[in-house]
Amino acid sequence: MEILNQWAFIGIFFVLAPILPAVPIILAGVISPKKPNAIKQSTYECGVETVGDTWVQFKMQYYLYGLIFLIFDVEMVFLFPWALAYKQLDFAAFLAGLLFIFLLSDALVYAWRKKVLEWV
């Protein structure tokens, strides 16, 4: 009960947060005119006929950014508890954190030197 009372606010918020902005959409859906036609619903490409599939092949570049982001995101998971407890830790904790960050900076330096971070 204790946990749920505490989290009920967030829970209800999660339910209500998408509903509130959905209200105007639904309202607009009810009162706006509905006169669809083929031209109106065609894909918007500045009047040019669409050529081929929407699924063009994307560059690997984007995926690499995603991967590097994932690594740093996981790093955050470790660094947040570290920063949280930092006030009550001794100097060794700073060194531990430093080593942790240093090792990961290595990866960033590697990516940099391998020109993964260049936008091509």
């Binding site: 009960m1 204790e2 946990i3 989290w7 699924w55 994307f58 995603g66 998971v77 470790f78 830790l89």
Partner: protein, 173 residues
């Protein structure tokens, strides 16, 4: 809202999250569209974040959303969009479906025997009484006699993962 015996708000929340998790998982395996599959996966992962909240582990719940929905979900969508022509599958099952089914059943059995059955049933006091805070986690991560070595090894592992990903993803040189 006068709930009957056993039908506590926790139970309702648990049911909802179970529905999200299992429903999402069901959606992943049944949809023929890979992007939709990724979206169902996100729904499923969100349900698991809810479980972490119920276990009074808000830090893990937040991490679940941050890493699994924010990073892995996006990475999955990227991966799906990078594979051309794979977004709409004609067949729902491929020829090796029975192998996958067998592997899933065996894995589930192992999980049942190893993890679920030993702790099944009423285990006594609820978790919330002796909750470890996130601060304790932070202290444990860097104190010399606890997890400082795994902490650093995790960093090394992440570095290795990133370098490995870069080596594999880059075709040239």
């Amino acid at each position: 809202m006068n709930f009957g015996e056993g039908l506590t708000p926790e139970a309702i929340a648990f049911g909802l999250f179970t529905l999200l998790t299992l429903g999402g998982a069901f959606g992943v395996v049944t949809t023929r569209n890979l992007v939709r599959g990724a979206i169902w996966l996100i729904v499923s992962l969100f349900g698991i974040a809810g479980f972490f909240v119920l276990l009074s582990a808000p830090f893990l719940a937040s991490v679940q959303v941050l890493v699994y929905i924010g990073a892995i979900g996006i990475l999955f969508s990227f991966a799906v969009m990078l594979t051309r022509g794979m977004t709409n599958l004609k067949e729902r099952f491929n020829s090796q479906w029975w192998l996958a089914a067998l592997a899933a059943v065996i894995a589930f059995m192992l999980l049942m025997v190893g993890v679920i059955i030993p702790v099944f049933g009423n285990t006594g006091a609820p978790v919330s009484d002796q909750v470890q805070t996130t601060v304790d986690l932070g202290v444990a991560l860097v104190s010399g006699n606890q997890y400082v070595l795994p902490f650093e090894v995790a960093s090394l592992l992440l570095t290795a993962a990133m370098i490995g990903a870069i080596v594999i993803a880059r075709e040239d040189d």
